[in-house]
């Protein structure tokens, strides 16, 4: 079970929750579980070509990853980061 931190602009999917929990041995499995729990959320982050959208970055713990098949170890946290525009 991984802690997944949700950026503000995507919290409408998680009913306002800033962090949720999801299972998976890879990033893709975690995103798939998020999609099952919060339909439509994955497409906001991943495009039709299975690439992370350019205004979204995904970090496993403190390190960025562009690979959906990135392996997750026990206790790894997934941070979804969205570009913010406000000033």
């Amino acid at each position: 079970m991984h802690v997944v931190r949700i950026p503000g602009p995507l919290r409408s999917y998680t009913h306002g929750a800033a962090q949720v929990r999801a299972r998976g041995d890879t990033l893709d499995e975690v995103l798939a579980e998020l999609e099952r729990a919060y339909p439509g959320m994955r497409f906001r982050m991943i495009d039709e070509q299975q690439r992370i959208r350019p205004h979204i970055r995904i970090f496993i713990n403190a390190s960025e990853t562009a690979a959906l098949d990135a392996a997750l170890g026990a206790g790894d946290e997934v941070h979804l980061i969205c570009a913010l525009s406000g000033g």
Binding site: R5, P54, G87
Partner: protein
């Protein structure tokens, strides 16, 4: 040489061995440009002025609105309606008459960006549009200027720094985005003190870079969540394929980006055919973009049928209600056949509210092309 007055004013800096007289003289010789005298720019410029930055530039073409005062602590109630850059200059010089403040009451665009940013040593980005953020980043990379960037949303903030030749830029972090994809403060709201925290952080980062102390936010994205009261730090690397700082950059001069689907120039009114509007709305829904649909027909026409999410402001009421409407980059006016919506968009544009479009052919065209079951009410 610091004057006696300066030694007294900056005595708490002089006591810090990391700054001292030499560091304070670097601060006094520095030229810093703050882009956006808003939530971030206000605290950043106040602290930089207080710290004795020799020349502080401020770019903002906006006027002070009552709704700004909840977070833009440069301004007081009596200043509502006045220009931000000039008002900020007066305030900052009152705080510290020993510095120079250059007010630029212009909109930063590709056409003027090199000229505006060129004379400064370091840039603070406190703008509230992604298009400006990318322009500022690109120009800082092209001119090799250090950039301290921050952004806010509701209860969240982000900050990072770019130092030429030493690490990744903003485009390495987020290669591309568009206004409308990500909501801004005017659309999503913001905790008033949040930009205070991030703007002060930008000032601290700028002072460190100028003096040459500490560890900058280089290749590190710092995020803040005021609800959880937590900070996180993430590492990111320079991208070899970055469009501006990569090995084979495609951006070699400043570029204005075009906002999501609509013409972004204030002089032009975008025309959307029904199918274009439908695609635009679907894309906005997927991307979570904020779209304001303003139906300018009479209430009985609106009551008969209207597009989902459209608000009703009859054309006759538009002039006095314009100031209250959330007219951002994605605003589409709608009427029965396209005449009133065109007039409404022109009215909004002439009042200085840019980036507007209207539904060409109106609801009649929408019903004919996309929704034959829709009943479009007659005029009277």
């Amino acid at each position: 040489m610091l004057s006696d007055e300066a030694r007294e004013r900056y005595s708490r800096h002089l006591l810090l061995p990391e700054i001292g007289v030499a560091g304070q003289e670097k601060i006094g010789a520095a030229r810093v440009l703050v882009i956006g005298a808003g939530g971030l720019g206000a605290p950043a410029s106040l602290y930089l002025a207080a710290a004795g930055i020799g020349t502080l530039g401020l770019i903002d073409h906006d006027h002070i609105d009552r709704s700004n005062l909840q977070r833009q602590v440069l301004f007081d109630t009596a200043a509502i309606g006045l220009g931000k850059a000039d008002t900020a200059r007066t305030r900052l010089l009152a705080l510290n008459p020993g510095i120079s403040v250059e007010a630029h009451s212009v909109e930063l665009r590709a056409a003027n960006a090199l000229e505006l940013i060129g004379p400064y040593d370091l840039v603070i980005d406190g703008s509230d549009r992604l298009a400006t953020r990318y322009l500022v980043n690109d120009v800082c990379v092209l001119l090799r200027k250090p950039l301290v960037s921050a952004a806010i949303h509701r209860f969240e903030g982000q900050a990072m720094s770019y130092l030429p030749g030493r690490g990744p830029c903003y485009r390495c972090l987020f290669p591309k985005s568009e206004d409308g994809v990500v909501p801004n403060c005017a659309e999503a709201g913001v905790l008033g003190v949040l930009p205070g925290i991030l703007g002060a952080l930008q000032a601290a980062e700028a002072l460190k870079i100028i003096v040459g102390i500490g560890t900058p936010l280089l290749g590190r994205l710092l995020t803040f969540d005021a609800l959880a009261m937590s900070w996180h730090e993430f590492s990111f690397a320079r991208r070899a394929d970055c469009a501006v700082c990569g090995d084979h950059p495609s951006i070699k001069s400043p570029e204005d980006s075009v906002a999501a689907g609509l013409d972004n120039s204030s002089s032009a009114i975008g025309r959307l055919a029904p199918a274009q509007l439908q695609t635009f709305l679907q894309r906005a829904a997927i991307d979570g973009a904020a779209v304001t649909l303003v139906d300018v027909r009479e209430p009985h026409e609106y009551a008969a049928s209207h597009l989902q999410g459209a608000i009703n402001v009859p054309l006759a009421q538009l002039p006095r209600r314009l100031a209250d409407l959330p007219l951002h980059c994605n605003t589409v006016f709608i009427c029965r056949s396209g005449g009133r919506s065109w007039a409404a968009a022109q009215l909004a544009a002439s009042a200085g509210r840019g980036s507007l479009a209207h539904l060409e052919g109106g609801m009649l065209a929408w019903a004919a092309e996309l929704d034959p079951a829709m009943v479009v009410a007659p005029l009277a």
